[in-house]
């Protein structure tokens, strides 16, 4: 059996709410193999997004480990965590979180610009642009390149967000309720898109959702309850 892409081991995380410590995760452990499409389901407030943020290096656990490609990333210094987040992780959020000042193409190119220094950018711009256009074309947005996010529908915005997440060819795509803000038709389209990315390109995806019907379309479902994770 090949080495897992992500290993989550005994993950604990709590938040302070006033004078009370809210223990959200209480020893979550699982593995994700490369090329898998996994859904995490659970009730609202069960810690699904927190788990995603910890795996995506946006937050640090109180205890436990997240091992990405054999490397424990929880103990890494901030600069290296930034670098890994840029290269190895792609995020898709429920509310898209596109930058309103930028058009579609600029939003998608942004991760490539973050990954590149000012001096190196002129040499890499053409390749980054080609890749962004290719991705947008694949996601059916080639006629929307110059549009601002506010000029797009919800489904289109989420497709732009997926294109942005895929821009740096991440090892893992973390999707936080990607269809949660969409109508059913658009949600279905996005789900198809994610499945396509997984099947055609072998993209590893970890998706958080509260919609069981969506979760059932994935390879594997993890259920988060009472701060612990069980496979369904």
């Amino acid at each position: 059996m090949s080495e897992p892409l992500v290993t989550v081991q005994g993950l604990h995380k709590s938040y302070r709410m006033g004078k009370v410590d809210l223990r959200v995760l209480r020893g979550v452990s699982f593995h994700l193999s490369a090329g898998s499409f996994t859904a995490v389901v659970g009730a609202s407030g069960s810690g699904k997004s927190t788990l995603l943020h910890l795996i995506g290096l946006l937050d640090k656990p109180d205890r436990g480990q997240v091992v990405l490609s054999g490397q424990d990333v929880t103990a890494l210094p901030a600069r290296r965590r930034d670098g890994m987040r840029c290269r190895d992780v792609g995020f898709v959020f429920q509310f898209y979180h596109l930058l309103g000042e930028l058009n579609v193409l600029e939003n998608v190119l942004l991760p490539a610009k973050v990954a590149c220094s000012t001096l190196a950018w002129p040499g890499r711009r053409a390749e980054a642009r080609r890749r962004a256009m290719e991705t947008l074309d694949r996601l059916g947005l080639s006629d929307r390149l110059r549009h601002r996010p506010k000029e797009l529908s919800g489904g289109e915005r989420q497709r732009v967000a997926i294109a942005r997440a895929l821009m740096n060819r991440p090892r893992i795509l973390l999707a936080d309720e990607p269809t949660g803000n969409l109508d059913s038709a658009s949600g279905k389209g996005i789900m198809e898109l994610l499945k396509q990315c997984n099947r055609r390109d072998g993209q590893t995806i970890l998706m958080v959702t509260h919609d069981v019907s969506l979760a059932e379309q994935t390879d594997r479902i993890l259920h988060l309850r009472d701060g612990r994770c069980n496979e369904l």
Partner: protein, 554 residues
């Protein structure tokens, strides 16, 4: 790469940033105007001091003055190689009067030697008849005076043809039109005076030639013929009304009542070359004595001089050095018993020295020390030359005037600098708002791998860019304001009757309107630093923001 990209994008798309740019631009323009006007004012004071005194002043501290000045000048030129030229100078208070109409004014009479004076200062640049002449004189050709006067008459006639301001209450019935009429009458009168002088000039020259020839024939012995010719020469001179060059005077163009300025800032004379004035003074050269007497002399006006320093132009008249020396009892005094024996040598008040090459403060001080040593050696050899003498650079001589103005300038710049801190506060507030508005963007940026430093740099670059753009706009606005500050003042005066720059008070005719590069660069750098400072705390807040919290921010 994303930092510069986002910074420029935010700069273009955030309307609120325009207010920060406007605040910076206004502060930069304000600072530029204040610094330029104050620096220009200071530079004018310095130039005026140099224009009056040359680079170094050797000055007697007693009213008796400084004797053997020509010998000292020759020694200084020999011993101090940096001394380029030197000229003696007398300055005494006197009473200037126009005999025809009893107009009078207390002024300062400056005894100068021409053309040497032009080698020491820029005296010739401000002359009316002899403007820019390398060798100005107290005896310019009458034809030149006539030509300049004709030009003035034409100019005044043209002005008279225009629609002119009616008299204001304070004008006592004299509006511009009435003043121009009076000036024209004075110019016509001067023109006929000059014509008479010119007409008789040929006859005087002819009579003078005849007299010389007759003396030649009589081998220097007076005859009836020579006596008759001498008498005729005297009569011709009196009729011509043109005194000999030792009694010619150059007036400062700014003496109250002798000229006026039109609304366009043009000077029109009431007293023209060719006219007569008289100077009266209490001679201080030999001490006041028990009963001070008054020495008077009539002069023909041959030119006038404008230095742009109101306090000089309104107070100083220039007469030949030797003439003023005599009037002020500073000429050579001989023994009553032995007419060839000099009791007191001829004296002046000051010797003005022009220094060759670089005249920065340090090198000027070195030359001053050299001149002082030369004076000490000279004084040791000639103790009769003077008692107490000071040798000062022009800056030291004018320290009492320049020093306070320098301090005033520094104080004003500091005060306006403090006011400009408003821009820093405004940028801080605006950036704080922007960072709040951009909280989610910051979360997204961090989610896609931007580091805290990178996020901070976006906002710092944004602040610096606001400083740069604001300072460029402010510099352009400030530059043009300073450039056209005098016409702007004229418009404000015309529309609202409010004049900021009073030439009597500020000593100069016009508000300084030059912009120097170094202060501009310093102000621009200051504006960029202000932008950075204003953005610093919001940028630090953005950098510290936790991405998870930022993404959840509503």
């Amino acid at each position: 790469m994303y930092k510069l990209f986002l910074c420029l994008r935010y700069l273009r798309s955030r309307v609120i940033a325009y207010f920060a740019i406007l605040a910076v631009a206004l502060c930069v323009a304000m600072m530029l105007i204040v610094v330029s006007v104050m620096d220009g004012f200071l530079a004018k004071v310095e130039r005026a001091a140099k224009g009056l005194f040359g680079d170094i002043v050797v000055e007697s501290t007693s009213t008796e003055g400084l004797g053997l000045y020509d010998e000292f000048i020759a020694k200084a030129a020999r011993d101090v190689p940096e001394v380029e030229a030197a000229s003696p100078f007398i300055l005494v208070p006197c009473y200037l009067r126009i005999p025809e109409n009893n107009w009078n004014q207390i002024v300062q009479a400056a005894g100068i030697r021409l053309p040497q004076r032009a080698e020491v200062t820029d005296f010739e640049k401000g002359l009316f008849v002899q403007t820019g002449w390398a060798k100005p004189t107290f005896d310019p050709p009458i034809s030149e005076i006539q030509s300049r006067l004709d030009g003035q008459i034409k100019f005044i006639e043209e002005l008279r043809g225009k629609s002119l301001r009616p008299p204001k209450p304070e004008d006592q019935g004299y509006g511009t039109a009435e003043r121009l009429d009076n000036a024209l009458l004075a110019h016509y009168g001067a023109r006929s005076l000059l014509k008479r002088a010119k007409d008789h000039q040929a006859a005087i020259a002819e009579a003078h030639a005849q007299l010389q020839a007759t003396y030649g024939e009589s081998r220097g012995e007076p005859t009836e013929r020579t006596e008759a010719l001498e008498k005729r020469l005297e009569e011709l001179t009196a009729t011509a009304g043109w005194l000999d060059p030792s009694r010619h005077i150059i007036l400062g163009l700014g003496i109250r009542g002798l000229s006026f300025r039109t609304e366009e800032g043009k000077t029109v004379r009431f007293l023209c070359p060719g006219s007569k004035v008289s100077l009266s003074l209490i001679p201080l050269g030999s001490g006041l004595g028990a009963t001070p007497s008054l020495n008077s002399k009539t002069f023909t006006v041959v030119d006038d001089c404008q230095t742009d320093v109101s306090s000089i132009d309104s107070e100083i008249v220039y007469v030949p050095f030797e003439t003023l020396q005599q009037l002020n009892n500073m000429a050579t005094a001989y023994s009553a018993d032995k007419p060839d024996e000099v009791v007191v040598p001829a004296r002046c008040n000051q010797v003005h020295i022009k220094v060759r090459g670089q005249t920065d403060e340090r090198s000027l001080e070195a030359v001053r020390a050299g001149v002082e040593r030369t004076w000490q050696a000279f004084h040791a050899a000639h103790p009769e030359a003077a008692g107490n003498v000071s040798v000062l650079t022009w800056r030291q001589r004018q320290a009492a005037i320049v020093g306070p103005i320098e301090k005033q300038r520094t104080l004003t710049v500091i005060m306006f600098g403090i006011i400009s801190l408003v821009a820093v506060v405004l940028i801080f507030v605006i950036f704080y708002m922007i960072v709040f508005q951009k909280t989610k963007d910051i979360g997204v940026l961090k989610a896609i791998g931007a580091g805290s430093l990178g996020v901070a740099q976006i906002f710092l670059a944004y602040g610096a860019a606001i400083g740069l753009v604001g300072s460029i706009l402010g510099t352009i606005g400030g530059y043009y304001f300073v450039r056209y500050i005098n016409p702007i003042q004229d418009v404000v005066d015309r529309w609202f009757g409010f004049r900021v720059w009073d030439r009597e008070f500020f000593m100069f005719e016009k508000i300084p309107n030059e912009v120097e590069v170094v202060p501009v660069l310093m102000i621009v750098a200051g504006a960029i630093v202000a932008g950075l400072l204003g953005a610093m705390i919001p940028a630090a807040r953005a950098a510290r923001m936790q991405p998870v919290e930022a993404l959840r921010y509503e």
